[in-house]
Structures are given as C-alpha cells and as structure tokens.
C-alpha cells in the first residue's frame, strides 16, 4: 500500500523500479530419492521371506545360544509361549492357565492336547502334502523343564514333527560364563 502511494506520487525521485521476480524453481527431490534408495536397500536386505514369523515376547527372558538353526522351508508353525505365570498358545494368543496346571490339572492338559491336535490337523489338512507341522516353544529362562518336557510330549503325540526353541543368539555366552565362574 505504501509502495503504491509512493509510486502514485508525482515526485520522480521517490519513484521506484520494481524488480522482475525470478521464477521459483521446482524443489529438488534428488537427495530425498537417494535417502529413500538407501532405506529401500536396507529393508530389502533385512526383510524376512520366511513363512513363519517369530517375534520376541517382552515378558519372556530368552536363553542365549551359539546355535541358530534355520526353520524348515515347508513348515507351518504353532507358537507356544510359556511365561512364568501363564501358557499362551497359537497365533490367537489363547491363554491356557498357569504352567503348573499342565502337570496338576488333567482337564487343562486335555484342553491343551485338544487344541494342539486341532492345530496340527488344520495344518496337515489345509496345506500342501509335504508340509510339516512344527511347534515353536518360547519359554522363560527360569521355567522348570518339567513344563517344557510335558509340552514337547503333547506336541509330538499330536503330530508335530519338529520342535524349535526360541532363543537369543549370543556367540559369547560361554566365554561370559567362564568369566563369571572364575
């Protein structure tokens, strides 16, 4: 407004010449594209193509192992999570009571057996002929083996041919152990 007023005045000394506005250039997205390419390469490298996905449970303290066995190519897994206070089965995360009930309560044991049998049958009936049903046991470090053995026994009795124990890979656990026992 001020400028207009000034331009409109008769005083030639106050007259200003408006500069020609330069065209705004398009935003360069080349650098952004570079970043995205790097992320994409990283993701492609890390992405898992395995049919079975295992995610670490925050409430479970996993044992460390040097070994890391690969899961079978044609496997369909049923997860079994044994926490210190509960047993969780299947992809639906159904709670099947306290681990102690696996030993003490025949009804609970029967319920677990029936559920795993149903899951194993579903795997063998719905999938290809050469598919193998496997059980992935994720148990807490401080669970007595009694519960794990019972779960393995139930699993193998209903047709699970491969049992996997979820751990955390640590190639140095034995060295750390030897330092601790000195």
């Amino acid at each position: 407004m001020q400028l207009k007023d000034r331009l409109g005045s008769s005083d030639k000394n106050l007259r200003r010449v408006r500069r020609k506005v330069e065209d705004v250039k398009g935003l360069s997205i080349t650098s952004l594209l570079d970043v995205l390419t790097i992320i994409l390469v990283f993701l492609i490298k890390n992405v898992s193509t395995e049919a079975v996905k295992i995610s670490a449970e925050p409430g479970i303290r996993y044992p460390s192992t040097i070994t890391n066995d690969a899961i079978m190519e044609k496997a369909e897994a049923t997860p079994v999570k044994i926490f210190t206070d509960k047993i969780v089965l299947g992809n639906e995360s159904l709670v099947f009571g306290h681990p102690q009930e696996l030993i003490m309560n025949p009804d609970k044991r029967k319920a677990i057996l029936d559920y795993l049998r149903m899951e194993a049958n579903a795997i063998y009936n719905n999938k290809a002929d050469d598919i193998e049903a496997c059980l992935i046991i994720q148990a807490d470090n401080f669970i007595p083996c009694e519960y794990v053995s019972e779960m393995v026994a139930i699993g193998t009795s209903v047709g699970y041919t491969h049992i996997y124990f979820a751990t955390l890979e640590d190639a140095d656990w034995l060295q750390k152990e030897s330092l601790a026992t000195r």
């Binding site: 997205i29 080349t30 952004l32 594209l33 995205l36 390419t37 992320i39 994409l40 993701l43 492609i44 890390n46 992405v47 898992s48 996905k53 295992i54 995610s55 670490a56 996993y62 044992p63 460390s64 192992t65 040097i66 070994t67 890391n68 066995d69 690969a70 899961i71 044994i82 193998e132 992935i136 148990a139 807490d140 470090n141 401080f142 669970i143 007595p144 083996c145 009694e146 794990v148 053995s149 019972e150 393995v152 026994a153 193998t156 009795s157 699970y160 041919t161 491969h162 049992i163 996997y164 124990f165 979820a166 751990t167 955390l168 890979e169 656990w173 034995l174 152990e177 030897s178 026992t181």
Partner: protein, 172 residues
Amino acid sequence: MAHYRPSEMRQQKAQTAPQEPNLVPIMNLFLTIIPFMLMLVVISQVALVALNFSQGEGGGGSAGGGGGGKEVEKVELIILDPQYAEKFGFLGFEIREPGMDSAKLPAIGQEYNFVALDKRIKDIRNRKADLIDITVTVYPNVLYRDLIRTIDLCKANGFTQVHYTRPTARFY
C-alpha cells in the same frame, strides 16, 4: 580454410538446458514400498534351536532324529536337578559314553559348570569324530535355560542329532 555456408546454421536446433528426469513417479513408488517393507521387517533377533522328532522314539517327551532301524551309538548326557541332589548329594551333569565309565561334572554352588561340560563334549568329539547323536536327559526341576544351554553346547560341538528325553525313573 573453412568454407562459409549461410544455410548451415538454419539446420541446427536451438540448444536448451538439459531437463531433469521426472522423479515424482519413482518417489511415489518408493513411498508405497517402504512402509510395506517396514511392516515386514523383523527387528528382533530371535534364534532357534531345533529338535527333529520325525523319526524318533516319539511320545512321552522322548524323541529325536536319525536312527531308523539301525542301532546308533549314543552318548547320554544327564542333567541332574536339585531334588536329585537332595537325595543323592550330587548336582551337575552325568555323562554316559559307550565303553567308558560314566563321568560326573559337579555344579559350582547351584550353577552348572558349562565350561567343564564344553571341554568334556570336545573331548568326546575328538575321540569319536563320526558320532553325531547325543541324548540329553533332563530332570524335571532343571531350569529351561540350563537345558537349552546344554543342547546348544552339544550342537555347537557337532552333535547335530540331539535327542531329548526325560528320566524313566523318578525319585520322590
């Protein structure tokens, strides 16, 4: 000397600044793929220890791979629990090897001696290079961590066929 031809310049097109390729479609593609891949990516590093029960003894918690009709020579590794220790005064590992006296590896306090176990398994491996079968018998009150560590040491030392059993005789 070059010959001057006035019509030569008329054939040449006016030079323009090189245009940048249109990156917007590529950007769109990337922006679609990246969230999808982020969903698939597995961040946590969960390892697996496998036991094969497909041809094993089956049932009752005892099973293992290999075997078939032929009797396979096996080393037996027993993990004794505190209940056993209360009764018999020994906590630790017992190793039974065909043709050898059974060896006992006592625990240090309440902790199993995995360093000694590793050494022992390496000795067996050196003596019997072809042997791949080992049976791990675990007492009920042994902690899951100790079982997995024992199986891990067996596998790390070349015993690829680990058979997992429970003791047939229990002491109450």
